[in-house]
C-alpha cells in the first residue's frame, strides 16, 4: 500500500483505535509552557498521580516573561505566579525545565528544536497551537488543549480523530527579498483562515526542499493559521545535518539506528491525499496583511480588496475587520505610517531572521518615530547574535535587543502596542487586540519589518536590499 508520510507516522503510533471514535495515539515528546499547564498539573494532583513518562516532557517559560531585567524577580504577580508554578510542577514531577535562569530558555518552539528535543518521525504535542512548527523535522506535531495536556501527562497518550491529508506542493524559485514567511502568508491568503481545517498538510516540491530548516519552521509554524492541525515536511540531509550534535539528539549507535527509521520518512510515490494544491513560488512577492485574521493578506504592492462580492455574512466580518484596522478597500498600504515594529516570536525569532533584519538595517538608521522591539526567540539565539556581531550592527543603526520570550506576539507581558497604533510584526496573528487592546497589526517578514523600522512606513524591502 502506498502511504503518505503522515500515515506512516500516525499509523505507527496507534496504541488502539476506538470503534467509531478517535485513535489512542502514543506521544513521543510533550512540550509544556506556563500558560496551558497549571490546570493539567492540578488535575494530576486531584487524581493523586504523577507524570507517567517525565523523561519525554520538556518545559520552558515564555508567554509571561518580561523582556527586560529578566534577572530580577517578575514584578507583576499575575505573570510571576504561573512562571513559579511551572518551576514547582516540573520539579515535583521530574520534568526537565528550561527556566528563566537557564541560558537556553526561550519560546518553546524555538528552544526545543535548538536542543534537539524534537526529531523526525515523532509525535509531538504541546498546549499551544504553534506546535505545528516541529513538522519541519518530519514529525507529526500539533497543538492541544489543557485537558489533553493532562491526558498526556497521565498516560503518554492522547485521543485524536485522524485528520484528512492535504498536499501543498510549491515549485519554482522564490524571488530576491521573498522569504518563507511571505510564502506561507501567500498560501493562507489563497486558501483562507479556515481553509485547512480538518487537514494535516504535507509541504513538498522544489521550493520547499530549497528552504533552510529555520525557513521550514517558519512555514510549518503558520499551518494552524489556515486551520490545519499541522504541517509536515519530509526530512532530508538538511534535517539530519541540523540535528547532528544537538544536546538531546541521539548520538553514536543510537544515531545510526535512528537514521534507519528517518530514511523511511517520505510519502510513497502515488500515495493518495484528500486534497492537493499547487503554488508557483515565482509569483510570490513580499506579503502584508491588512485585516484581522492571517488569511487577510496581499502582495505588498497590491491594494486592499473589496468585500462587495462576498456573501452577506462574510461581508459583515470583512467590513468589521477593515473598520478595526481603520483602512479602506482600494487603499494601498505602501507609505502607510506605522509606530511599532516587532521582530521575534516562534515564527520569526530565530538567528536567520535576525541576520535578515540586521543585514537590511546595516548602515541605515531606525526611524525616530518607531518603537522597535527586537526579541530573540531564545537565549541561544541571543548568544548567536552576539557571536556573529549582529548586535553591533543593530546598535549602530539605533536598535537595542531585548531578552527572550513571546513578548508582543501576544502581549501577556509589558510589551503591548497601544490602542489605535499600527505595528509591523513578524509574529503570526493579527487578531483584534492580539498585541494589546486596540492594537493594529500588519503581519510580515523580517525584511518588511526592517524596511518599516527604518522608514517609519510600510515599504517594499526589495527597493533597498543591501
Amino acid at each position: 500500500m502506498m502511504q503518505t508520510l503522515f500515515d506512516k507516522i500516525w499509523d505507527g503510533h496507534i496504541v488502539s483505535s476506538i470503534k467509531d471514535g478517535p485513535d489512542v495515539l502514543y506521544i513521543d515528546r510533550h512540550l509544556l509552557h506556563e500558560v496551558t499547564s497549571p490546570q493539567a498539573f492540578l488535575g494530576l494532583d486531584a487524581r493523586g498521580i504523577k507524570a507517567a513518562r517525565p523523561g519525554q516532557s520538556f518545559a520552558t517559560c515564555d508567554h509571561n516573561v518580561p523582556t527586560l531585567n529578566q534577572e530580577k524577580p517578575i514584578e507583576d504577580p499575575s505573570c510571576r505566579i504561573p512562571v513559579e508554578k511551572l518551576a514547582e510542577n516540573t520539579a515535583r514531577h521530574g520534568i526537565t525545565h528550561f527556566g528563566l535562569n537557564n541560558p537556553n530558555q526561550g519560546v518553546i518552539h524555538v528552544m526545543a528544536p535548538e536542543q534537539g528535543i524534537v526529531l523526525p518521525g515523532q509525535t509531538i504535542v504541546c498546549g499551544d497551537s504553534h506546535t505545528a512548527t516541529h513538522g519541519a523535522f518530519g514529525s507529526i506535531a500539533f497543538g492541544i488543549g489543557t485537558s489533553e495536556v493532562e491526558m498526556v501527562l497521565a498516560s503518554q497518550c492522547i485521543m485524536q480523530p485522524k485528520p484528512k491529508k492535504m498536499l501543498i506542493s510549491v515549485e519554482g524559485v522564490l524571488g530576491k527579498g521573498v522569504t518563507s514567511k511571505d510564502l506561507i502568508l501567500y498560501v493562507i491568503s489563497k486558501i483562507t483562515a479556515g481553509g485547512g481545517t480538518g487537514y494535516f498538510i504535507e509541504y513538498a516540491g522544489q521550493t520547499i526542499r530549497s528552504l533552510s530548516m529555520e525557513a521550514r519552521m517558519t512555514l510549518c509554524n503558520m499551518s494552524i493559521e489556515m486551520g490545519a492541525r499541522g504541517g509536515i515536511i519530509a526530512p532530508d540531509e538538511k534535517t539530519f545535518e541540523y540535528l547532528k550534535g544537538r544536546p538531546y539528539a541521539p548520538k553514536g549507535a543510537e544515531w545510526d539506528q535512528a537514521m534507519v527509521y528517518w530514511k523511511t520518512l517520505f510519502s510513497d510515490e502515488g500515495a493518495v491525499f484528500d486534497k492537493v494544491l499547487t503554488f508557483d513560488a515565482s509569483e510570490i512577492t513580499p506579503m502584508i496583511t491588512y485585516g484581522t485574521n492571517p488569511g487577510m493578506g496581499m502582495k505588498i504592492g497590491d491594494s486592499i480588496p473589496s468585500g462587495a462580492n462576498l456573501a452577506e455574512s462574510d461581508r459583515i466580518s470583512f467590513e468589521k475587520a477593515l473598520k478595526y484596522m481603520n483602512l479602506e478597500s482600494g487603499q494601498s498600504l505602501l507609505g502607510k505610517k506605522i509606530q511599532y515594529v516587532f521582530l521575534g516570536s516562534c515564527t520569526n525569532g530565530r538567528i536567520e531572521d535576525f541576520r535578515l533584519f540586521a543585514g537590511f538595517v546595516k548602515g541605515k538608521q531606525k526611524h525616530p518615530d518607531v518603537v522597535a522591539w527586537l526579541v530573540p526567540g531564545s537565549g541561544n539565539v541571543a548568544r548567536q547574535i552576539r557571536e556573529e556581531g549582529l548586535d553591533k550592527i543593530l546598535t549602530a543603526a539605533g536598535f537595542s535587543l531585548r531578552q527572550p520570550g513571546c513578548s508582543a506576539c501576544l502581549a501577556m507581558n509589558d510589551d503591548k502596542v497601544p490602542s489605535g497604533m499600527y505595528a509591523v510584526s513578524t509574529s503570526n496573528r493579527n487578531f483584534e487586540g492580539r498585541q494589546g487592546p486596540g492594537s493594529r497589526t500588519f503581519l510580515a517578514s523580517p525584511l518588511v519589518a526592517a524596511a518599516a523600522a527604518v522608514t517609519g512606513q510600510i515599504t517594499d524591502p526589495r527597493n533597498d536590499l543591501n
Partner: protein
Amino acid sequence: MSLQKFTVIESAVVPVQVENIDTDQIIPARFLKATTREGFGDNLFRDWRYDTQNKPVQSFPLNDARYSGSILVAGKNFGCGSSREHAAWAIAGAGFRVVVSSFFADIFKNNALNNGILPVQVSDAFLSKIFALVAVKPKTKIRVDLEKCEITLAETGEKESFEINAYKRTCLLNGYDDIDYLIAMKDQIEAFEAKKTWV
C-alpha cells in the same frame, strides 16, 4: 473526574453574528493568568463586551437583556487561532452548554467536548435561519437533543441533524472522561512502548 451529563437542552440563545471568531476574542491573552479553571466566564468576549473604560457595550449580545440562555450561536469558523482551553472554560463559566455554528476549528471542538460543551455544526442555511429568527423573536427557543443528534427550532419545528463522533457522544451522555479511559489502558500502552523502535 467526571463531566456533567448531557442529554437534551432547550433554551433561548445568545447570537453573536461574526465569522472567524478566534479564541483571542473569546478570552484575550491578558486574562489567561489564573492557574485554575474557574473565573474565566466574566471575561468571555471581554474586549467586545466592555469598552476601553470598562463600561459594558450595550449593543453586544451578552449585555443585551433581550438575549439569554445556555446556547451560544456564532458565525462560521468559530474558535480558530490559539489552542487555549481557557476559551472553553470561559464559555462554560458564562453558563453555556452548547455552541452552534456552521464550522468549528478543530482544537476548539476537542476542548469544548472535553469540558462538557457540545459544539453543534449546522448548515450555513440553518445558521442563517437561526440568526433571522432570533432577530425578530429574541426569546425564541432552540432544542438540542444529543441522543437523537438533532437541533430543532422550537418556534417552527424546523430541524436538522448534526454529527458527532459516536465515542464522544457516549462520553457526553454518560459524563465520562477520556483521562480515566487512558489511565485504564496502562498495560496496553506499556506493551506498545516495549515494541517501539524509534527514539
